[in-house]
Amino acid sequence: MLVAKDIVKTFAGEAGNAPALRGVSLAVAAGEFVAVTGRSGSGKSTLLNILSSLLTPDAGQVLYDGRDLAAMSARERDKLRATDFSMVFQMHHLLPYLTAFENVLTPFLSSWRPVDAARKAFALECLERVGLADKAERLPGKLSGGEQQRVAIARALVTRPRALFADEPTGSLDGSTGRQIMDILSDLNKEGLTVVLVTHEPLYARMAGRLVEIADGRLAADNGTPAPAPSRTV
């Protein structure tokens, strides 16, 4: 479903250019649960952002169902993120002035057309799915950190995506709450959703079916498929 080929990404910094990815190749099949691990600054979040079309690589290609993301127009990439891909961040980033229920419906608020009853019903289902149907009318400020993250997951599910990209979703949560979040992601994967998770927690990484390790901008290990030999060196 998703194929990254020789991805190179460099960020300009005060101390000069800082290479984040130095030729990473990775294929993610539909329905996989891939955990990307690595030390802080290894480039794992950059890889996730490139796979999810939020960032464009300096070199290399990301193919989604055979289509090069870089060749798509900005509008097509926006549409892709609105329909096929979903994001969950370390910080939940809920809109503080909308209720949990309204936050779940945020992806549909870019149109003049009012959100229809079917979408509203599904938003409630998504909240139920993460165990928060009874707190649908609460503002984010009235929810705990774990609950807020679960609302963010419900928001990621409401568009019925094919792939969910989660960047350290448990990073700001305590152990038991983090475990709840991982259980939800695991269950969603079992129901067929492709999940790409970035985490530095070995315990959570092991819950994924496939473990990929990034070190110093390169693919260091991949227990699903052998790490391909780097075809380019930066």
């Binding site: 979040s45 952002n49 939020l54 960032l55 464009t56 900005a74 509008r75 926006d78 549409k79 892709l80 993120r81 609105a82 329909t83 994001m87 961040f89 370390q90 910080m91 980033h93 809109l95 503080p96 002035y97 909308l98 309204e102 419906l105 945020t106 992806p107 549909f108 608020l109 870019s110 149109s111 003049w112 057309r113 009012p114 959100v115 928001r155 568009t159």
Partner: protein, 388 residues
């Protein structure tokens, strides 16, 4: 829930700041509304006051004159054909022009040359009510000024020359007219004339329904005198219609000055208000970069983000337009009372003007929010990622 939800909720969340911005903008709109209303009222008040000092359009029958000379000596012009107007047709024609609402007085005149105690004198038949509209400076020593059917008002010089005082009886064309008052000196030709009721004088002279000329006072705030003159000329093909340009120009200059001043001040106020709205939205964009980045990550297009920021500004502008216009009307009413512009001076609610100001303010707000809304739409998800 639709695209309006986010801007509305965000404005509500920051209610104090939203209200403050709207109020400041509303003050701008209120100032503009008040100034416009006031300039209209001042203009009309000046016009009506100025109109009281005389007519500005003269309507007379076309006459053909013949220059006579003999043996190299000019003997002057001789009227070949003296014409009258029919009173009813003429007044109806003037009352039927497109700009009839701008006419403050239509004063027909019938002129009779008579002899009183063997002294020649001009007697003018007037519609007293209309005449008073353009001769508000007339006064009598007795204080009261009236003209009944067979009454006579004497100009100061004419009264002195003819030895007339109130109560004196003056025979004119076989009918007796009684002097009801002697006008105080005006410094005009009126001092040398006698004034009688139009219809009584016409009847005495056996010239029922005949008039010699008409003086018209037009209020020209917002209407070109040339148009009124042309309309009267078009309604009265046999008439010679002249605008007294000097009078008109000076009146228009006064009114125009007030208007230009009001519009200049309004422009400065509105410009300041626009800058404020722009800065407010810029500040909102800077504060909400994370939120904008998140929305972009959720699939909102650049256009949607642009629209969100734009709508926020428009909502502020629309609120300010409504509050501002209401406050402006109220303020202009108070100012008119303070400036003692007269009982008739009052702000008038015009739905079309309200709609135009509303649309205008919306357009200005829209314009002011363009740069920050564009800046917001250019935030790339990757930029926001650094912050997320």
């Amino acid at each position: 829930m639709n695209i309006l939800t986010i801007p509305l909720r965000n404005l509500r969340r920051k209610l104090a700041r939203s209200l403050l911005t709207a109020v400041v903008f509303a003050v701008g709109v209120a100032s503009v509304t008040a100034l416009v209303e006031l300039s209209k009222a001042v203009g009309e008040s000046l016009e009506s006051k100025l109109a009281a000092y005389g007519a500005n359009i003269l309507v007379s029958p076309k006459t053909e004159t013949l220059s006579v000379g003999y043996g190299g000596m000019a003997l002057g012009d001789v009227s070949v054909d003296i014409k009258y107007f029919k009173e009813d047709e003429t007044l109806a024609a003037i009352a039927g022009i497109h700009h009839k609402d701008r006419l403050s007085a239509v004063a027909p005149k019938f002129v009779l040359l008579a002899r009183v105690a063997d002294t020649p004198v001009g007697v003018i038949g007037v519609d007293f009510e209309q005449e008073r509209q353009i001769k508000s400076h007339w006064f009598t020593e007795a204080g009261t000024l009236s003209l009944d059917s067979f009454g006579l008002l004497a100009g100061s010089e004419a009264a002195a020359r003819l030895g007339l005082a109130p109560g004196a009886v003056v025979p004119l064309e076989g009918r007796d007219f009684t002097v009801t008052g002697v006008l105080g000196p005006t410094g005009s030709e009126d001092d040398k004339l006698l004034f009688a009721d139009l219809h009584a004088l016409q009847a005495a002279a056996g010239k029922i329904n005949r008039i010699h000329f008409v003086e018209v006072a037009a209020l020209c705030a917002g209407c070109p005198i040339e148009e009124i003159t042309a309309q009267i000329a078009s309604s009265l093909p046999g008439a010679d219609v002249k605008a007294m340009q000097q009078v008109v120009k000076s009146r228009m200059m006064t009114v125009d000055f007030v208007k230009h001043l009001a519009f200049a001040v309004s422009g400065v106020i509105l410009l300041t208000a626009c800058v404020m709205i722009g800065l407010s939205i810029f500040s909102s964009v800077n504060e909400r970069k994370n939120e904008i980045g998140l929305l972009r990550a959720l699939g909102f297009s650049k256009g949607s983000v642009f629209l969100l920021m734009h709508l926020e500004a428009l909502l502020l502008g629309a609120t300010a337009a409504v509050i501002g216009q209401a406050a402006g009307f109220a303020a202009s009413g108070r100012l008119m009372a303070l400036l003692d512009l007269g009982e008739q001076a009052a702000p008038t609610f015009d739905p079309l003007q309200f709609a135009l100001v509303f649309v205008g303010v919306a357009a200005l707000t829209s314009l002011a929010s363009l740069p920050p809304a564009l800046a917001a739409s250019r935030i790339e998800p990757s930029q926001a990622l650094v912050m997320l």
